[in-house]
């Protein structure tokens, strides 16, 4: 059976992942792998519930610093 992941990235950069075609632990194993790979690329993902759903943080820290 094929696996399918649907990802929706909102206008602020929030991403929600929905996994289909995985059974039990395979889904979590895939999510963990995904989390690690995304983190290596600068996107911090968090598992937000026991359901197969992952969300990335979005909010921007608008700290402003002067260059000089």
């Amino acid at each position: 059976m094929g696996k399918q992941v649907t990802i929706v990235i909102g206008k602020e950069g929030n991403a929600t992942f929905t996994f289909k075609g995985y059974t039990g632990r395979l889904c979590y194993a895939e999510m963990e792998k995904l989390k690690q790979l995304l983190k290596a690329k600068g996107v911090e993902a968090q598992i937000i519930s026991q359901e197969p759903t992952v969300e990335t943080p979005v909010a921007i820290d608008a700290t402003v610093k002067n260059v000089v």
């Binding site: 094929g2 990235i9 909102g10 206008k11």
Partner: protein, 133 residues
């Protein structure tokens, strides 16, 4: 201390950490297309002082240009936001975040052997990733 109320070349931090320059370049390219902007490699402040940037854009809102850089793994916006509404800066940050996340997600699923299809629906980006193993 000078801040948002003065004309100055400033750096604005985002929450993209450990960023990848290739992904950032693709995200900025998408951002330029979305905003109908022009790519630039120099930004300036209100008084005309210039700064060279690796990636940047100029449009009707950011007429002096705004640059994108990675410092210690963090993505920062570089430019003078004097007389630019903070909401416009936030909007730009959000757009960059959305495009960067899109690039990172697409790249990751491709790396995992998935086929990836993306569509923009209104303000959201929908991605479907398929694998048949």
């Amino acid at each position: 201390m000078e801040g948002l109320n003065t004309s100055n070349l400033t750096k604005i931090k985002t929450k993209i950490k450990n960023a990848n320059m290739q992904l950032l370049a693709k995200a900025v390219e998408a951002l330029i297309k979305q905003r109908g902007a022009t790519a630039v490699t120099k930004v300036r402040d209100y008084s005309g002082r210039e700064q060279t940037v690796e990636l940047g854009l100029k449009d009707s809102t950011f007429t002096r240009g705004i640059g994108f850089t990675i410092e210690n793994g963090e993505v920062k916006l570089v430019g003078d936001t004097w007389q630019i509404s903070p909401s416009h800066v936030t909007e730009l940050q959000n757009q960059l975040n959305q495009h960067y996340t899109h690039q990172a997600v697409t790249s990751t699923f491709t790396q995992l052997g998935y086929q990836v299809v993306s569509n923009k629906v209104k303000e959201d980006i929908y991605i479907k990733a398929y694998a048949f193993s």
